[in-house]
Amino acid sequence: MRNLTRLGRVLAVAALLTFLLGPFLWQGLTSLTPEAELGGRGWPSHLTWRAWAGALAREDFLWSLFNSLVVAAATTCLCLLCGAPAAFALARLPVPGRGLLLGGALAVSMFPPIAVVSPLYLVLQQMGLLDTRAGLVLPYATFALPLTLWLLTSFFRQIPSELYRAARVDGCTPFQAFRWVLLPVSGPGLATTALLVFVFAWNEFLFALSFIHSPGRRTVPVAISLFAAEHAEPWAEIAAASVIATLPLLVLTVLFQRRIVAGLTAGAVKA
């Protein structure tokens, strides 16, 4: 009986791992399979890096990696710059309309992004920011800001309030206390938040598809979604490009697994 339940558990873990990793590993295998053997039965006769070389030889794809990196990094910086002081105030200062602000942030996080595509398109057009990387940063930061506020507010609340009060008693202004006492001990919270915002911005699709036209300015998700439309379905290269676009995220995720899980579930534990 005991062995039977253990066998059952092993089978369950195996099924789970197949479900979680199988599709991505299959994509990886596809990217290494010779073009002629795609869809064939059985194991490929040999593995080849040709599709990887092909994907990496596409200038537009390389640009898209760079574009995504720039946009995601800028979004992360902007989010933390706006979000960290606000979260600190929400955690430690008597902010008027505190509940309204946190509730409003929650409401924004529920927004379907399509609802603001048309006005943002017109505004970006008028400001000359349509079809630019800069034009993506502000909308991205806005939609990542609620997450930033919630995560950092709960993080600043976990820092003992004695630390802040001691700084004030010693003559710091609230800003000095924030800048020189709280920020230096907030590394883990800021890093977790930055990571989640970066992943969000790297993955965003609807705004990037709507606001960017030039092939050289596309972000990675748009480039990958349009890979087939421009060329005759190069399946192995698409597979290689998807793996390349995902690898940096997977490395980050595995390295910072605990932090990410803590960040993702921070809201759930408190509720």
């Binding site: 558990r9 599709p23 606000a86 709507s210 995902t246």
Partner: protein, 291 residues
Amino acid sequence: MSLARRLRTERAQAILFVAPAVMVLVAVALVPILAALWLSFHRSILLFGERAFVGLDNYALLLRDTRFHAALLRTLYFAAVAVTIELLLALPIALLLHRAMPGRGFLRAAVLIPWAIPTVVSARIWGWLFNPDYGLLPRLLPASDVNWLGTPGYALHAAIVVDVWKTTPFVALLLLAGLQGIPEDLYRAARVDGAGRWTLLTRITLPLLMPAILLALLFRTLDALRVFDAIWVLTEGGPANTTETLSVYAYKTLLRAGNFGYGSAQSVVTFLVVMAVGVIYLRVLGAGREG
């Protein structure tokens, strides 16, 4: 400095701290929503630069547009089916992850993989798996002669599969966090009283997990109602518009047809549907917490 004055300066400083975040949220989220509402009262074709106030005409059109009704019902169906499957799969996964066993750390890292993969890439991965000529699934599935992505009735369910794969891990992690909050003592006490596994699950685990389950339900439902990425990459709403959801139809009206007036009306209704569902959920959650 008097206490009252000190409090006033504290408040003034607090306002300075939150001002940038508030300004961004107002300028890029609140104002655009109102602007979308304003646009939806106009006939506005992007290409011709024309703009004329037409009142509620666009909404009258929505009421007659059967394609829009179908998209609305399809979106609700997509969200209901996808979220139900995700919860049913996530619960056993969370229970499994909660158990102490060798390799648990590895398993928890593996759970994050589908979450970290961009939705566009997941749709690509599954589009390849479903590919009628080269894909793995048509060879493994019983109905192997069906072209999943090209057949009405099947394609939407292929999109549901992508959504389930991508987001079940997130739900499982939320539930896992809930499980970790249940005190071990409760189980010990119940076992002393002779409770079996099934009783433990239904009398302790599930009731105490309810807040986490409801929260996951809220997050996931609102997210599924705005589905766009997976469907756009898999089928662009096809075949014959049978995978067209609210966001997909609105996107096509706005950026394919350049019809900003009518497209904005669709966007506004999408917004209202999502918000209405959100408010209903929060009411239920709030009532549950008080009760």
